[in-house]
Symmetry: C2
Subunit: 319 residues, 2 copies
């Protein structure tokens, strides 16, 4: 039977999303399991494999799977290993030969893996906003800031497989916010969902400016977005600040690889209406004249519920 | 006759160096002409072609040239054009179809061109310190700061052919020094030969610190280097500062492309003994833990008088 389908698996700290995908990017069927129910990677992979077999059987696809693509934090494309993934209950320390282990459970169906942001870039290039582009930078604005860099039509993995950590480039050199990575001033401490909430808390404390956000107990980036939509001036300013920080960083990224576009994806990218202008302005003010107004700023076109699976699945077509 | 030789041409603002190079990286013969004797590009190219024919005749190499590689400011690898090269008397505005024009004068010998820093990266990969490396970043520390980025064994040209302007990434975000490019705070305003001289002038004015540099009328980076070698403390501190700025920037570059090494070349790289430690320290302090102590910092191994020609010539082997 023709191998005309692939499986995409997106592993996050809490949940694992799996789906069967065809060449046009349709998710034929999908399901979710918990990622954090065990600290034993063998146990996790067994239950994952069981889930995949059930998914394939239900979709009548057992013989049609060409490969499995996995997007996983700290996934190394070169080695197929997951290395020191602090956010995964079963992956906290050392190297796990994840791809090899999953292949063994899947009757030899080949498995390829990379980190989630690189998978997102593959998805966008294969099915989304970056179709036809050979040079672009994917920025995922979620709890953190991830990135996938595509040059000459290929994801950049670098010498060791871990290239593209743009969320940890320096946005604020002195007295920057401490980051989970141990450094300070990293882009993701400002321009992630967490960063936006942090900016809100800081500004509420430091200024007297009236804002509907003052009535909230615990502020999330979603609250800031809702407030901005209601016209709350402080909330709008928070996005302007976030956008400026992003735009300044994007200018440096452009000077590195001269991409055709920067593609934004993730929860925070939903605040597009408040982010586009400040990003574009800061990008143009900080980039060399030759790129001013030339590099596109585009937002992901993938359905958010499918995007993670599609991104991971895109890896499998290369197998 | 076998085409076993190439020509390398390095075009700078004042001089143009040309040489005939064999596959082992030996410069068989070379010569220099002025770059700025005319504002007419036709005239410049005619005299360049004449020089090349003389060079080939003298080396008995007329039939043996496989191709010509040119390193030139604002040279676009994709189009073979030189675009808005403000430092070239005949190239100040608009696009010059340089490769096509030179080919026409050279009886159809193919011509490939790129900017000088990309050419340096090619040279280092073909004949120098980066032999065998597939992922590295070349940084040229001259009057300005140039860069050539190699990923998967190929120079990164980006969407438009101009990728790799790392000298214009932001080193100092607020109140940074104005740069010739129109922006401020660019890496090259601090970490170039000009930048080092500027730091010296600023520090001499702002502090009372004793220094042999105070007796000089006009300070160059070479003066600072000489003073540092004599043990002048201020001069040594100037290199420490320069090294820190470089190391901080290198940390961000590593987070982009995860190179095996950063290769330094150019006049300022001669101050290696004063730069290595501060660069390495700042690089390690500012990079993600996973790369700490892992990315090599190496200095060009090419003879300085040959390097520019070798770099440009390396392009021609690809033709």
């Amino acid at each position: 039977m023709e191998k005309d389908l692939v499986i995409g698996i997106d592993i996050g700290g809490q949940t694992t999303k799996c789906g069967i995908v065809d060449a046009r990017g349709t998710v034929l069927s999908q399901t979710v399991i918990r990622s954090d129910s065990t600290e034993d990677v063998e146990e996790y992979i067994s239950s994952l494999a069981e889930t995949l077999y059930r998914l394939m059987a239900d979709a009548d696809a057992v013989e049609r799977i060409r490969g499995i693509g996995v997007g996983v934090p700290n996934g190394n494309y070169y080695t197929g290993e997951v290395e020191d993934a602090v956010n995964l209950s079963w992956g906290r320390s050392g190297s796990i030969p994840f791809a090899t282990m999953l292949e063994a459970h899947m009757n030899g169906i080949p498995v390829s893996l990379t980190n989630d942001a690189n998978a997102a870039a593959m998805g966008e290039m294969t099915y989304g906003a970056a179709r036809g582009m050979k040079n672009f930078i994917m920025i995922t604005l979620g709890t953190g800031v991830g990135s996938g860099i595509v040059i000459n039509g290929e994801v950049v993995y670098g010498h060791d497989g871990f290239a593209g950590e743009l969320g940890h480039t320096c946005a604020v050199r002195h007295n920057g916010r401490p980051c989970n990575c141990g450094k300070s001033g990293c882009l993701e401490t400002y321009a992630s969902a967490t960063g936006v909430a942090r900016t809100a808390r800081e500004w509420l404390e430091m200024t007297e400016e009236p804002s509907t956000l003052r009535s909230l107990d615990k502020i999330t980036s979603k609250d800031v977005f809702e407030a901005a939509k209601e016209g709350d001036k402080l909330a709008i300013k928070i996005f302007e600040y976030t956008g400026r920080i992003l735009g300044e960083s994007f200018a440096d990224f452009i000077e590195f690889s001269a991409p055709e576009a920067i593609v934004l994806f993730g929860g925070l990218a939903r605040a597009k209406e408040f982010l586009v202008e400040p990003i574009q302005k800061a990008m143009d003010e900080n980039v060399l004249p030759l790129w001013r107004g030339k590099v596109k700023l585009v937002f992901s076109q993938l359905k958010e519920s499918d995007a993670a699976i599609l991104g991971a699945s895109a890896l499998a077509w290369e197998l």
